[in-house]
């Protein structure tokens, strides 16, 4: 290739001589040489490909493209001197290119079309969610009358995975929250010498708000995402379809045990979180504020009403329903691609946390109106 260029135009014989490897690995090199090769502006020329060593369909495509370009300028390519194999390949590629009438143009939707499309999608999703809830309610009522269809095994495995296996992380997080809260509030209280009031503040805030909220957020990340991903993969794998053809509804086998399981475990996890949150606060008040274990435990039942504990625990089942139903719904909504499993898992967690906080705000308003 050093002595003779891979593309060379011989003006005496009006021949374009092609040499070397006409392959896809070499194509950009060929294209750049072709761009600087000067070709006649008029008359006929011929291609000579006798000394082409290797040619593949990309090389054939380049030759045909060159011919087309010359054709448009009014230069006829009269003759091809190619090996038999190469000519055959060129003929095939030419035939296929003739079928290429250009890609059907993809129309770019206007802004209004995009807004409209998104609105309809959102409304459809809302409708699907309501249909999902409706169907679940129907299935749940049906199950009440057919206790033999209850899936105790699924239920216990859900309780084990969402509840028992979540204990360590919930304990650790709640303990840390208790420590942090005590530290921040303790700094203020110490200024007024009101150290002992840390017990009131900590008890109320942890039992009423922090424990249920932190637990629910943690569980929606741990469990809600797992629900979406596992049900989504089953959907992709047609396992959901298989269940439907066997007369077992996915709701009965997969969804209701998950929802009921979380409904049972989330309040229990909240109690667990209460314990460790208060424990964290107690350790910190002992260290930082010098409140003895005895004083802390003595004051706790006197100032923190049972009501706070019950309100905290009472929110948990609602949060559980939100997390589990959103998680399962997003799983069912997965559409035929791995990408969609990822998207729906993200949505499931984001929506669950969003609605948990909205629900918590609504609870606060209701309780303050009720003067609880």
């Amino acid at each position: 290739m050093t002595a003779k260029s891979v593309i060379h135009y011989d003006s005496n014989t009006r021949q374009l001589v092609l040499r070397g490897d006409w392959e896809v690995s070499n194509l950009s090199h060929l294209q750049s040489i072709l761009a600087i090769t000067s070709l006649p502006e008029t008359g006929d020329i011929s291609f000579n490909g006798e000394s082409i060593v290797k040619m593949d369909s990309a090389g054939a495509w380049l030759i045909l493209q060159l011919q087309n370009r010359l054709d448009q300028k009014g230069i006829r390519v009269q003759q091809f001197h190619f090996s038999e194999e190469a000519s055959k390949l060129i003929a095939i590629v030419n035939k296929k290119l003739a079928e290429n009438s250009g890609m059907p143009a993809v129309k770019k939707p206007s802004l209004f079309a995009i807004i409209g499309y998104n609105s309809v999608t959102q409304l459809n999703e809302l409708r699907n969610f309501l249909a999902f809830i409706g169907q679940l309610t129907y299935e749940a009522i049906r199950l009440v009358f057919h206790p033999s269809h209850w899936r105790w095994n699924s239920l216990s495995s859900v309780i084990y995975r969402t509840g028992f296996q979540g204990l360590p992380i919930i304990a650790l997080l709640s303990f840390l929250i208790g420590v942090v809260l005590t530290y921040q509030m303790g700094l203020q209280l110490r200024n007024y010498g009101a150290n002992i009031f840390i017990v009131d503040l900590l008890g109320l805030s942890v039992l009423r708000e922090f424990a249920p909220l932190i637990t629910a957020i943690m569980v929606s990340g741990r469990t809600g995402s797992a629900y979406t991903a596992s049900i989504g993969m089953m959907k992709l794998n047609q396992e959901i379809d298989a269940l439907n053809t066997m007369g077992v509804t996915p709701a009965e086998l997969l969804i209701i045990p998950r929802i009921i399981g979380l409904f049972i475990t989330l309040p229990l996890l909240t109690v667990w979180s209460d314990i460790f949150g208060v424990l964290g606060g107690m350790v910190m008040s002992n260290n930082m504020l010098g409140i003895s274990w005895y004083d802390f435990l003595h004051r706790f039942p006197q100032t923190v009403p049972l009501r706070s504990f019950i309100i905290g625990i009472g929110k948990a089942p609602i949060f559980a329903l939100l997390i589990a139903s959103i998680g399962c719904f997003q799983g069912i909504q997965v559409k035929n691609s791995a990408e969609s499993v990822g998207q729906n898992t993200t949505r499931s967690v984001v929506l669950a946390i969003f609605f948990i906080i909205v629900a918590d705000a609504i609870f606060s308003v209701i309780f303050s109106k009720m003067k609880l």
């Binding site: 690995s25 194509l27 950009s28 294209q31 593949d56 495509w61 290429n100 691609s337 990408e339």
Partner: protein, 261 residues
């Protein structure tokens, strides 16, 4: 291009899967330009063999040479050179579900063939047409295509870089007979125009008769015979007789000889 040199050479290959020996000293050589079928009963390690050639599974011992390079100990650099020269159609197509068909076919070109965006697009469209797909399928996602079209799409991606060597894992499995026949013809067509060497694992007796030059029969952890189908079916080995001697085997043979008389 000489037609009798060896493109893949497998020597004394031993493979263990879950504690059991799948291959016990397997030998096989594949010549340039041929279409080699690999058959054998379930669990005889056909797909494992292909995965080993593709460097996806590591054998316990033995040597596999592809294009003259030892694949079992190849450095990443050598491996990349080899990988650019082969194309693979997996059993379940393995089209990337998040990309359109066109993007799927463009993928290897973009990664390995430093070309302008327009060239990549045009070459990918050419490959889609060569695989016998209509143009409007190019902008669709794999999930929107039928099973047969997905196979063709997978094939279009496998031939995107104009490979010398093409691996097909059960190319006609799950296709209706009509589509399967069309696919066989497509493979033959591509093989003759592009001068490919094809290694196909298949159970489809019709494809074996129609497409392959030679067939390697796997059984008892070794290759029991590598011959043209017409010779292989006369092999007295009981495993081979059992495999081809059934009603379906004879029907396929009958159909083939009818076609050629």
């Amino acid at each position: 291009m000489t037609h009798d040199d060896t493109i893949i050479e497998i020597k004394d290959l031993t493979t263990k899967m879950g504690g059991a020996l799948v291959h016990k000293g397997l030998n096989l050589s594949i010549k340039r330009g041929e279409v080699l079928g690999i058959v054998g009963g379930s669990g005889t390690g056909k797909t494992t063999l292909m995965r080993e050639i593709l460097h996806l599974t590591k054998p316990v011992s033995g040597s596999i040479r592809v294009f003259g390079y030892e694949i079992t100990t190849a450095t990443p650099k050598v491996l990349l050179e080899i990988q650019k020269r082969w194309g693979v159609l997996f059993q379940s197509n393995a089209l990337f579900s998040s990309l359109t068909l066109l993007e799927n076919v463009m993928f290897p070109l973009k990664e390995h063939a430093h070309l302008s965006a327009n060239t990549v697009r045009d070459l990918a469209l050419l490959k889609i047409l060569m695989a016998g797909l209509p143009l409007d399928s190019a902008s669709k996602y794999p999930a929107e295509l039928s099973g047969g079209m997905q196979k063709r799409g997978g094939l279009a991606r496998a031939i995107a870089l104009d490979p010398e060597l093409l691996f097909l894992d059960e190319p006609t499995a799950g296709l209706d007979p009509n589509t399967a026949t069309g696919f066989d013809e497509l493979i033959l067509n591509l093989q003759s125009t592009m001068g490919l060497t094809i290694v196909m694992v298949t159970h489809d007796l019709d494809s074996l008769w129609k497409v392959t030059n030679r067939v390697a029969f796997l059984g008892d952890g070794a290759v029991l015979g590598v011959e043209h189908m017409s010779t292989l079916v006369k092999n007295p080995n009981p495993l081979i007789q059992e495999f081809f001697g059934g009603q379906r085997g004879r029907a396929a043979e009958q159909g083939y000889s009818d076609e050629n008389t």
